[in-house]
Symmetry: C2
Subunit: 229 residues, 2 copies
């Protein structure tokens, strides 16, 4: 029986990965990291989405490990604002937390080892990585090798979105049973705003993907309907 | 200017590594992990030893990440007792925390990146690893590659003890200025006992190393003198 552990942030990419895993694996569970995120709404989104997917869900409290290194974990810094997706700068964003995915994969690897899972699913994308080196496939393959050696057990790291852009990720989500419904509860905005701020890096990338796929964002639709009701 | 970050547990091996680094690097700092250790004496030892070495010292609180996985982090389990070092079983001890060194190296890598350190020093030994896969050189080299890729910066992982047995580690310590004096405050016993219990895996390995090197253990000598005083 194949068993997958999905790293679920509650965002668009990890939500899509969760429903992708449900179609591919016999058994799926989800793992969310609480690492002094700026926004508790991310944890609430992850919890709601895991419930919609009907999978066991664990939230691991990372304590203060990454406190203060990035504006995502430190209230003293401001998130950068952009006017449109085309104006996004190259290179590293200031939301870079050195080694965040290294840490997530390490803890997920330990959890997968204990749970007897054979695969970890991570929603990274080289297209949208904003300069994050730990979102690249080169890193994923090296981390997979390090985990297999350090745990003395081969655990596969699957990254179904690694070569997809946001448009293709939206199209993948459309093909996965229940995924669009769950995306209505996903969270993306770096500013933690509901409705999304529309001007941060994450909001712009998400909006562009749905626009290019010519699909309404289920989150935007849900909020519009709730406001109208 | 060369800069090293030493992972300091407060035990014999990491203490020896700290004094090794002081002779090899222009700048040295120490990092200790608080991961629900059974014994706060480990943190106290690390603090005392960093002070003796005159290096900046940071304790990172790992939160509940590894709680419950090993008897080292869980009070419900008993530490195994042995009568002598020869009777130690092969394979994995029950003190195995899956991925502990993977996690330590991940956080140390992030810290080294932020600090501008070019090397991480870790006191693992293949000779005494008790079956821990994440103490082997194969893992260290793979983790080094994963960190370099994920951080997009080459950070070396130095393991000066990896091919030494405990006798050789004692001999190395004797050659390092101030190291034996610091070892008088190091801590090894899995049971957190002062004086050391003498029957756990760690105590037996330590005692055998000093005996084979025909050197009195400075910790034992210090405790003897304090009792006599």
């Amino acid at each position: 029986m194949s068993k997958a552990l999905v790293v679920l942030s509650g965002g668009q990419d990890s939500t899509t990965c969760l429903f992708w895993a449900l179609e591919k694996y016999d058994s799926v569970s989800a793992l969310t990291f609480n690492y002094n995120q700026r926004h508790k709404i991310e944890l609430e989104s992850a919890t709601k989405i895991a419930k919609l997917a009907g999978v066991p869900h664990r939230i691991v409290d990372m304590g203060p490990i990454f406190g203060g290194v990035s504006p995502l974990t430190n209230y003293d810094h401001e998130v950068e604002e952009y006017t449109d997706a085309e104006s996004l700068p190259g290179g590293l964003e200031n939301t870079f937390v050195p080694g965040r995915n290294i840490l997530f994969l390490t803890v997920a690897g330990s959890q997968a080892y204990v749970d007897g899972a054979d695969s970890i699913i991570l929603g990274v994308s080289e297209e949208d990585f904003g300069g994050y080196p730990d979102c690249r496939e080169d890193f994923i393959r090296k981390m997979e090798a390090a985990l297999a050696s350090g745990l003395d057990k081969p655990i596969k790291i699957e990254t179904p979105l690694v070569h997809l852009n946001k448009k293709q990720t939206v199209e993948l989500a459309q093909s996965l049973l229940g995924c669009m419904e769950a995306l209505a509860f996903s969270h993306t905005c770096y500013n933690g705003a509901v409705p999304p701020c529309g001007t941060c890096h994450a909001c712009l990338l998400r909006a562009r993907g749905f626009a290019q796929a010519a699909v309404p964002d289920p989150l935007v639709e849900r909020l519009k309907n709730e406001t109208a009701a």
